[in-house]
Amino acid sequence: MDWEFISNLILASIRMATPLIFLSLAELYSQRAGLVHIGLEGLAAIGSLVGFLVSLISGSPMLGVVAGAAVAILVNMIFAYATVTLCAEQIVYGMAINIFAPALAAFIYRVYFGAGSELVQVKLMDTLSSTLHINADNFLLKLLLDQTPMVYLAYALVIFTAIYFNKTKSGLNYKAVGEYPKAAATLGINVIGVKYVACIICGALAGMGGAYLTTCYANTYVDGNVAGRGFIALAAVIFGRWTGGGVLLACLFFGFCDALQIRLQVGSSGIPYQFFQMIPYIATVVVLALIGIKKAGPKGSGKPYLREER
């Protein structure tokens, strides 16, 4: 347990927390508009595949992230139409997305690379310090400068989200849709419109979170690379009490668990590595068990909104 170990752990936590921040913000925007979305795992899977393919073809990881977000929005429009317009049960449809989107991702991968697939790798996104040609050699410089632009974007989005939901009129209207859509509608808020916007934001953020995994974190795509992050993000939103700041802290905690897990795997012999890999998942269960019943989420979350219904 020396300084080197701790500083590496902190740096890795930041890296591991970033995809979770994107995914949790996606869930937050969805739930604030009254849509519980358990299909983020699937959206992230398709986002990560498209991000990988586009950055492979174009050579630009940035473009990959944008494309990943765009395709995830398209897939999420299926969810939006089914749950907002057709009033399908959100949990059930989230499951459907969870099955459909990874199948689509796997299919595209097989078709593009054929059966005999050797491991294809892409160039990862440059960190800020290497773009600016700064030699980041101490911990503080590494923490502040040796990050990909996606990390800065994630934190900027957290700050924006916190301000938007608490300090702007449009943010309060948005929250009203999630709390009590009928009251919101009587005030002239376009409930259906807000829900669709929420699905666009949610799809974009989830796709970016997925694309982060293939453009900034690992330089290749494998099936199942999202590894439950979509579900951990759901837990992070509950843990973070449906606020931007809370979600950030929750993600940093889960990111820390993930980073710790990897460090411990390297450092120990004798104990099967799978036990360390369990840490993030068990931490999620323990955290949820500890915070208990106190429900603070949007009141209208999970319920369909039918305009004619009383």
């Binding site: 089914a82 057709l86 009033c87 099955i99 590894a227 837990a235 998942y281 429900k295």
Partner: protein, 351 residues
């Protein structure tokens, strides 16, 4: 009115399947294969002769267990997305007993199945207890436990029960394997699955406990006011659904796989949920849907060999079936569409 509802609940999945196949055919055509030949080879691969039929039923068996598991819990209004974890823990416990206890033959099989089922039940007890006593989201917990179970199985086959250089466990003894039916790949595990399905059907629709459980599932608040022990039913449904999955895990190990290995049971849990939803939580329909999905999987291998269409096309078709069915079932419940359909049926009855 009631008949029209029943008709719709059968029609929606059928139309969804047709739509999914239509899209599948377009994909095949785009990939440069003749959809008709591809579908034909898909059919032959799945049902063409008794041997293929046997393989299809063998593939369907674990899916029947996991979909019955999802179906049972959701009848009580709780989502058990942890079928995969319970299935795996069941098979791990079963593997331990089968290879380490030294009890073989019929008593061994019986012991293995019981231990496997109990292990699955205990694994499902965790999300159940957290749901009932901590009010926690049972979906997230059960999914997290899936990952833990998969990793735990990894420890077992790479470390504790590893045999030789390859990361896998020893095979279960021959005397403890489930017997094959007519020399096909289908084993008595399939019969066990059918019996479990029939038992669940009987319990849900012909016993007062089953009725109460469904009442809890339809409206927890109303059930609570009527004095039903809601919490007990929720816990009960979770444990029983875990038992079903655990039993499935051990039946799969003793019937088909014989040893734990990387990728064992991967995806069975979510597939089970999808099938239960397509079957609209009817236990017997669930069995049919599971056989249909298994047929798509088994047949797709033949299709790939014959026409070069990758097997993942069949995954897309399966995924589209669920996407369309769930949307379709929601659509027919919309007031405007319901009104149109009621009018249509009213006309038919008048004529």
């Amino acid at each position: 009115m009631k008949n029209s509802n029943k008709l719709i609940s059968v029609l929606v999945p059928i139309i969804s399947v047709l739509l999914a196949f239509a899209i599948g055919c377009v994909i095949m055509a785009v990939l440069g294969a003749n959809p008709a030949t591809a579908l034909q080879s898909l059919w032959i691969g799945a049902f063409g002769n008794t041997r293929n039929l046997g393989t299809t039923l063998a593939r369907a068996t674990p899916l029947i267990f996991t979909s019955l598991c999802a179906c049972f819990a959701y009848r009580c209004g709780v989502f058990n997305l942890g079928g995969e974890g319970q299935f795996i823990i069941g098979s791990v416990a079963c593997c331990y007993v089968a290879t380490q206890s030294g009890i073989e033959g019929f008593p061994g099989i019986l012991l293995c199945l019981i231990v496997g089922a109990l292990a699955g039940g205990v694994w499902a007890l965790i999300p159940g207890l957290l749901k009932v006593y901590r009010g926690q989201n049972e979906m997230i917990i059960s999914i997290m436990l899936n990952y833990v179970a998969t990793l735990f199985m990894g420890v077992v086959y790479t470390n504790w029960l590893r045999e030789g250089n390859v990361p896998q466990t020893a095979s279960v003894p021959d005397a403890t394997k489930l017997s094959r039916i007519f020399g096909l790949r289908t084993t008595s595990a399939f019969l066990i699955a059918l019996v479990v399905g029939l038992l669940i059907y009987y319990f849900l629709f012909y016993t007062s406990k089953g009725f109460q459980m469904r009442a809890v599932g339809l409206n927890m608040t109303a059930a609570e006011f009527n004095g039903f022990a809601v919490k007990r039913y929720v816990l009960f449904s979770f444990v029983v659904s875990g038992l079903i999955a655990g039993l499935g895990g051990s039946a799969e190990l003793l019937g088909t796989q014989y040893r734990l290995i990387n990728g064992f049971a991967a995806g069975y849990g979510f597939d089970g949920v999808a099938m239960a939803l397509i079957a609209q939580l009817h236990p017997l329909a669930t069995i049919l849907v599971a056989i249909f999905f298994a047929a798509l999987r088994v047949g797709s291998t033949t299709m790939q060999a014959a026409t070069g269409v990758p097997t993942s096309v069949s995954d897309i078709i399966q995924a589209l079936v669920i996407v369309f069915t769930v949307a379709g079932l929601a659509m027919v419940k919309l007031p405007q569409i319901k009104a149109v359909m009621d009018r249509m049926f009213a006309k038919k009855e008048a004529a």
